[in-house]
Symmetry: C2
Subunit: 227 residues, 2 copies
């Protein structure tokens, strides 16, 4: 392919978790129109599984994420993405690098709105669900979330996935949780955590499935190819 402008270099803040980052990178490659190897984007990736591992968890990860963003910028990144929904708590700290951030939550929200859905189910951790509720509130979309005891089950499943358990039991449990959202009126289900699409696919659901990771990948390719 010939590009009117040279493609931009993408910087990826990853590692939260490590397998989800590789899922994002694979979807990025799949979304790239590449006739030859060199048509793929240059991507600088910081896989940092320790950034949210301190006592304060994701709440306290702002300075670490800001440092990762600055490091990617200094290494040559021109556009940033974070391969983790929850880390978007600190989207502003990442934007302080001066680089544009392709926002995962906003991207997933746009994809949900494109489905003309009024009630959108979201599978994600508590902090990410709050970000989705805020994004949806500007779009006249109601977020459908799990009941508290189901959310506890989701979190337990999430840690099993992060531990590498991507087998049939994890897939069945995730599908059952997604079906609960449909039972509560969700017309669309958003994978609002990058571990979710590791064990859940569109074929598992009777309603449209929005893989936020894939939506982010497609949008990053579009933004970087704009040059």
């Amino acid at each position: 392919m010939t590009h009117a402008h040279p493609p931009k270099v993408l910087g990826v803040l990853g590692g939260m978790g490590p397998a989800a980052t590789l899922d994002f990178l694979a979807k990025l490659q799949a979304a790239t129109p590449a006739a030859r190897e060199q048509d793929h984007l240059r991507v600088l990736v910081d896989i940092n599984p320790q950034v949210a591992a301190g006592d304060g968890g994701y709440e306290a990860a702002g300075p670490g994420l800001a440092a990762m963003a600055a490091g990617l910028r200094d290494a040559g990144a021109q556009v940033l993405a974070i391969a983790c929904n929850t880390a978007h708590l600190h989207a502003d700290a990442v934007r302080a690098s001066g680089l544009p951030l392709v926002d995962l939550i906003e991207t997933a929200g746009l994809a949900a709105r494109a489905q003309s859905a009024e009630r959108v189910g979201v599978l994600g951790v508590g902090e990410a669900l709050a970000l989705y509720r805020r994004a949806f509130s500007h779009q006249a979309i109601e977020a459908v979330t799990l009941d508290d005891h189901e959310q506890v089950e989701f979190m337990a499943l999430l840690y099993r996935i992060k531990h590498g358990d991507l087998g049939p039991a994890s897939r069945q449990t995730m599908a059952a949780l997604a079906h609960r959202l449909v039972g509560k009126g969700a017309q669309v289900v958003v994978a609002g955590c990058t571990e979710v699409p590791l064990v859940l696919a569109a074929a598992d659901l009777a309603v449209p499935f929005i893989d936020a990771t894939e939506a982010l990948a497609r949008r990053c390719v579009a933004v970087c190819l704009e040059g």
Copy 2:
């Protein structure tokens, strides 16, 4: 896990090709003893599919690879690896960054030697085969390679793989080429190109298979955890 020393940050020169880099990163995660997400290594990755795409190909990629190595060092990498056999032409240019390089060719050679094989088949591009011959010459190992017309077939297959064709036809052709090496006396077959293990596995062969990518991943984990 508790480490006596903090694990070292690994820098990966990748993109040659992009899918092979993700294969390496997945094998790195699989090789890491991780009870929790934060036990995974911090890895800085430069996926640069353009570095060997100029007129001079890999021969002319030395300055580009040296710049990638310096960039990874400046971003915080403490140990380097190159997820491409052929790019090891420029191992010295990468070592000029001042960081230790976990050498893929050397690692595969050690794995071959550990099999006590005297005749080792290697599937790789011409420049990489020359590197393997040089490494084996110090180990009393004879490199078994394809005949010229088979090497042409290998290169054509390689470009199909780099174009995303990982289907049954690619797998069958790669297995047939590996069997040719066994027919020529190879007691072990080395995947001497990071695209090879995308379509060839131990189960496809009657002799031991050395996935150089996987061997590199295991050695990088060991080196980084030494702290």
